[in-house]
Structures are given as structure tokens and as C-alpha cells.
């Protein structure tokens, strides 16, 4: 058999063999590999895991110290005879608060509320925001006009004022929506924060979808007879997942700060639940006599939000290496 010039087919086969040896990596694998080499992000991840462990193990910490989160120790053990908080000691490592409760145990329990609200409110915001953004970007026309206006309205609302108003109304008279009763507590805080943060997610997703909608593979799917929602879920959603994940990581610390702010203003999680925001607000009148009462919950809050922000920056840089990262 005559051996002619190398056919295109042969060349292609050779190339694929080489490619197989190199091993293809998905954008997700690449991002993950980049993230693993980002030292700051990995430290931040470690801190986040540690805080989550503290939250989960809060009952264990309480058992080890022998102090429950809501147990009030009488003077002279829990407070001084004058009723002031007691300084850190071997017995109370972080000191006690104005009611003679162990600050260490309460800070540990406070992590539960912060993480729970941070994650749940972010989830709520991301789900609503993604749905609205996908619908607005994909369907366009009237749907887009209406939804874009709704997003505009949500972004013009002063969050904190509305949130405290809503929370305060609810704390006096619980609102009944069908079988659901909204009253002061974790649920309303999650709903309020989620409701006021989805608009940004929706705007980001909408922008991405507008660009993707014009791609050939969407047209191909449509010409094969795929339905709108199938195209949205199978073809569009995976391509907007990266920005959603990046923004969600950065939304968690914002939600944690929002929850702490609401509790600090007295309209968040009601007492006696241990919560960093309400602890700081309780500590405010004592900041001259009892620094530990103020400083430990403050530190817990700062470390948590900082860790999530560093991690979020790292994840963003990992997904988009060309982006000029803010941490260099």
C-alpha cells in the first residue's frame, strides 16, 4: 500500500493522543488548583473551618468549662459585689458579662447564630437573585423591563432603615402570611437580609446571561427544540455559576455584619440567645470598666468577616486569573 502524505486524519489522531497525555482540565479544576496555591486564601479557609468547628462544638466548650451559655453566676463568682463584670481569670477565660455569664461560652454560641444567618440569608439572596437574573436576562423584552425596574427599586431602598422598621413592626405584632407567622427571631432576620440583598446578585447574573444568550450553542439548543427552562438550566446556568459562587462568598460576611448590626440595634435575635451583635450592644455601657466584655465578641466578628472576605477574594482571583486581584 502506498504511503501518501500524512492525512489530516492521522495528524488529528496524533494530536489527540498528545492531548490525552497532557490531560484536559476543566475550568473548575484549574480554579481549584489556583486556589490551593493561594496561601492567604488557604489560611482564610482554615480560619473559616475553625470558626465553624467552634460553632458546632459550642456545647462541648460549655461542658468543658462547666458553664452554660445562659447560666447567670451570682456575685461574687459571676460579677463583683457591685454587680460589675469580672475580668478574665482561670475560671472564666474571657471574663464574665454584666449578668454574670461566661463570655467565652457565649462567644462560642454566638458563632452558631452568625454562621447560620450568614449562610441562610446568602442562600436565600442567591436563589432569588439567580432566578430573577436568569429570567430577566434570558427572556428579555417585557420580562426584563419589569424585573430590571424591580431590581432598581430594591437597590434604592435604604437597607438598614427598612430592615429595622420591618423587624420592629414584627416584634410588636407578628405578621401572618397564610400559615406562616413572622415574629422576632432568626427566621425574620434571615428573610429581611435575604430580601434586601438579592438585587445585586440578580443584576450580576442578568448581565452575564445577556451575553451568553447570543452564543451559538444556545441557538443550537433552541433549534433542536429545547424548551426555555431546559436551556436556562442545562446551558445557561452552569456558565453563570462561577460569578454566583464568587459573589455568594463575598455576600456571607456582609450578611453576618447585617445580622450583627440588627442585633446591635436591638431588632435582631432576641435575648437571651448568645449573639455577637447583641453582646456588643450589652457591653457598650460597660466599655470603661470591662474591656473584655466588649473586645472578645468584637474580635470574633472581625476575624470571621475578614476570613470570609479574604477567602472570597481568593476564589474570585482563582476563577478569573486575569482580574487584577485586590490582594495582589
Amino acid at each position: 500500500m502506498l504511503k501518501g502524505p500524512r492525512s489530516a486524519e492521522d495528524a488529528w489522531e496524533e494530536e489527540t493522543e498528545q492531548a490525552a497525555a497532557i490531560q484536559g482540565r476543566s475550568p473548575w479544576q484549574l480554579a481549584f488548583a489556583r486556589l490551593r496555591h493561594d496561601r492567604a486564601a488557604m489560611i482564610a479557609l482554615g480560619v473559616v473551618v475553625a470558626i465553624a468547628l467552634v460553632a458546632v462544638l459550642a456545647p462541648v466548650i460549655a461542658a468543658l468549662t462547666g458553664h452554660g451559655p445562659d447560666v447567670q453566676y451570682l456575685p461574687p463568682i459571676g460579677t463583683t459585689i457591685d454587680g460589675l463584670p469580672k475580668a478574665p481569670s482561670a475560671h472564666f477565660l474571657f471574663g464574665t458579662d454584666d449578668l454574670g455569664r461566661d463570655v467565652l461560652v457565649r462567644v462560642a454560641y454566638g458563632a452558631q447564630v452568625s454562621l447560620l444567618v450568614g449562610v441562610l440569608a446568602t442562600l436565600l439572596a442567591v436563589v432569588i437573585g439567580a432566578l430573577v437574573g436568569l429570567a430577566a436576562g434570558y427572556f428579555g423584552r417585557v420580562v426584563d423591563t419589569v424585573l430590571a425596574r424591580v431590581i432598581d427599586v430594591m437597590l434604592s431602598i435604604p437597607f438598614l432603615l427598612f430592615a429595622i422598621s420591618l423587624a420592629s413592626v414584627v416584634s410588636v405584632t407578628p405578621i401572618h402570611i397564610g400559615p406562616i407567622v413572622l415574629q422576632q427571631g432568626l427566621g425574620i432576620v434571615v428573610i429581611v437580609i435575604g430580601t434586601f440583598s438579592w438585587a445585586t446578585v440578580a443584576r450580576i447574573v442578568r448581565g452575564q446571561v445577556l451575553a451568553i444568550r447570543e452564543k451559538e450553542y444556545i441557538e443550537a439548543a433552541r433549534s433542536l427544540g429545547a424548551g426555555s427552562w431546559r436551556i436556562i438550566v442545562i446551558d445557561v446556568l452552569p456558565n453563570v455559576l462561577a460569578p454566583i459562587i464568587v459573589y455568594a462568598t463575598l455576600l456571607i460576611p456582609l450578611s453576618i455584619v447585617a445580622e450583627a448590626s440588627l442585633s446591635y440595634l436591638g431588632v435582631g435575635i432576641p435575648p437571651p440567645t448568645a449573639d455577637w451583635g447583641s453582646m456588643i450592644s450589652e457591653a457598650q455601657p460597660y466599655y470603661q470598666e470591662a474591656w473584655w466584655f466588649l473586645v472578645f465578641p468584637c474580635l470574633a466578628l472581625i476575624i470571621t468577616t475578614l476570613a470570609f472576605n479574604v477567602l472570597g477574594d481568593g476564589i474570585r482571583d482563582a476563577f478569573d486569573p486575569r482580574a487584577t486581584g485586590t490582594r495582589a
Binding site: S156, L166, S168, V172, L265, I302, L306, T324, A328
Partner: protein, 321 residues
């Protein structure tokens, strides 16, 4: 441009209309009938007073009459009557606004200066020690809740200094500049710094990113090739282009601050709009809460319009959208 302006104003009016609907839903419909009159009358009011207030505010009429009345009062510039302080809500807001204005403007000047300068310094030498230091510091302040920074400032700069005999800053309260300019300034230094440091961080990050983008452009290379000084390139050529997104954000932030810096005002006991709102909420003083919420939303909407119009004036492409 006129068409753009008209469309933008109409959109602003529409947003404000939506805000009034949401306010109406939250405060009038949500808690159910009876709550509003009860809250307005105060806890100890006899049933006759409650009924009288309900009747005067048309609370015994159907919802569209109520909302129509609420809206027409607003359109006449009447924010209602505060039964708690026996004063009109307009005058309460007029008293609180100068405090918020003093706080917002002072803080805005500080944070814009710090944010832009540190952002430029970072971007000019990326990955240098200065850049890493500045960006990390920015991230720490960015992660810090306003009330945490405020309370730490009070602990360190007010209490510890005062204990050691340095009475530089008062702990809380507000002095009107008509009384004493010096006391006004002294009392606002800590609140200004608190608000400014928390906000400056975002501007450091924003300016740095924008500057790095611009510094990679061809016209910067051209400017270098012409032999211009590095300072002239940085400030006259690059910063000018990089400032657009920063100024946009600045307008929006100042607008939302004019509606009350809720947290800062409460930490330092400054009787501005945000403080008034929280007090009103504690007292269940409904007309004041509604008044502040409406004024604050109007401030945000106006700021957004100003920003968009300025942006459109600078960049003609925006007008087409």
C-alpha cells in the same frame, strides 16, 4: 440629553412611588388594622382617642382611600404629625438633618481622600510592600462592622486618653456649629474617622482596580513615550479616567448617608436622622419612622439620578441605553 434626563426623572418618580407602596404595606397593611391607630395614640390612650386618630387618618376606610390620602399628604410635602413629641414630622426631620449632613459631608471628604490616595499608591507599585500593606489594611477595615470600629475608637481614643489625662475628644453628643465651631469640629472627629475608615476601604480597592486597568492602556504608554513625568501621568492622565467608577460609587454612598448614618449616629449619640429613626422605633413612634424612611429613600433616588446624569454628560454612550 433632555430625553435621557426626562426618562431618568420619570424612573426616579416611579421608584419613589414603589417605596411609598412598600412603606404602606409594611406599616399599615402588614401589622393589621388597629395597630396603626394604637401605636400612634400611645400605650395609655383611651379607646376614644384611638378611634379618633383612626378616623382622622381614614384608617376606618378601605385601603385605596387610605393609601390615596397617605400619598397625597406626601405629595403636599406633609410627612404627618408626631403624636409622641407633639410636633410635626417635618420639623423633627428639619432638626435632625443638619447633624446627619455634618457627619456625612465631613466623613465623605476624609474617606474619598484616603481611599483614592491609598488606591493610587497601591496601583502605581503593584505587589510592592506598600501595595500589600495598603490592600490588607483596607480589607481589615472593610471587614469591620461600623459599630465595632466606633466602639473600639471610643474605648481607645476617648476612654483610654481621658483616663490618662488627655481630654481630646468628647465621648458623645453634638454641638451645633452656630454655638461653637470648635466644639462642633472636636465632637465630630471620632464619628468622621469611624465612618471614613470603614468606607475608605472600599474606595482603596475600587481605585486600585480602576487604576491598574487604566495604566495598562495604550495612551498611558504614549504619554510615557512623550517623556511626561511619572507624577503627571499618574494624576493627570490615569487618575482622571480611573475616577469615573469611583465617583459613581461616591455619589451613591453620600446619597445613602444623607438618609442617616444609623449605626455611627447611635454609637456616638449624634441626634441625626438615623438616631431619630432608631429612637422612634424604640418608642413605636410610627409617623417619624415613616418620615425618615421616605426622606432617606428620596436621598438615595436623587443621588442615583445625579450620578447617572453626570455620568451621561461625561460618557455619551450611556445615553443610548
Amino acid at each position: 440629553m433632555t430625553r435621557f434626563l426626562i426618562r431618568r426623572l420619570l424612573l426616579g418618580a416611579f421608584v419613589m412611588l414603589c417605596v411609598t407602596v412598600i412603606v404602606y404595606l409594611i406599616f399599615y397593611v402588614g401589622p393589621g388594622t388597629g395597630y396603626v391607630a394604637r401605636a400612634l395614640a400611645g400605650r395609655e390612650a383611651p379607646p376614644q382617642t384611638v378611634a379618633l386618630i383612626a378616623h382622622r387618618l381614614l384608617l376606618d376606610r378601605p385601603w385605596y382611600v387610605q393609601y390615596g390620602h397617605f400619598l397625597s399628604q406626601l405629595l403636599h410635602g406633609n410627612l404627618g404629625y408626631d403624636y409622641y413629641h407633639d410636633q410635626s414630622v417635618n420639623s423633627i426631620i428639619a432638626q435632625a438633618f443638619p447633624v446627619t449632613l455634618s457627619l456625612a459631608v465631613g466623613a465623605a471628604i476624609i474617606w474619598f481622600t484616603i481611599g483614592v490616595l491609598s488606591g493610587v499608591a497601591s496601583a502605581v507599585r503593584p505587589r510592592s510592600l506598600l501595595d500589600r500593606g495598603a490592600t490588607f489594611t483596607a480589607l481589615v477595615f472593610y471587614s469591620m462592622p461600623t459599630f465595632v470600629l466606633g466602639l473600639l475608637m471610643l474605648e481607645l481614643l476617648y476612654y483610654q486618653l481621658t483616663v490618662h489625662g488627655l481630654r481630646w475628644f468628647p465621648g458623645s453628643g453634638y454641638t451645633s456649629p452656630t454655638q461653637s465651631i470648635f466644639e462642633w469640629f472636636r465632637g465630630l472627629i471620632l464619628p468622621w474617622l469611624t465612618l471614613a475608615l470603614v468606607s475608605a476601604a472600599a474606595y482603596t480597592r475600587l481605585t486600585r482596580t480602576a487604576m491598574l486597568d487604566v495604566l495598562g492602556e495604550d495612551y498611558i504608554r504614549t504619554a510615557r513615550a512623550k517623556g511626561l513625568s511619572e507624577a503627571r501621568i499618574t494624576f493627570r492622565h490615569a487618575l482622571r479616567a480611573a475616577l469615573t467608577p469611583v465617583v459613581t460609587q461616591f455619589g451613591i454612598d453620600v446619597g445613602s448617608l444623607l438618609g442617616g448614618a444609623v449605626i455611627t449616629e447611635n454609637v456616638y449619640g449624634l441626634p441625626g436622622l438615623g438616631y431619630t429613626a432608631v429612637q422612634a422605633i424604640t418608642n413605636q413612634d410610627l409617623p417619624v419612622i415613616i418620615g425618615v424612611v421616605i426622606v432617606a429613600s428620596a436621598a438615595v433616588v436623587c443621588a442615583n439620578i445625579v450620578v447617572d446624569v453626570v455620568y451621561a454628560a461625561l460618557d455619551p454612550r450611556v445615553r443610548l441605553h
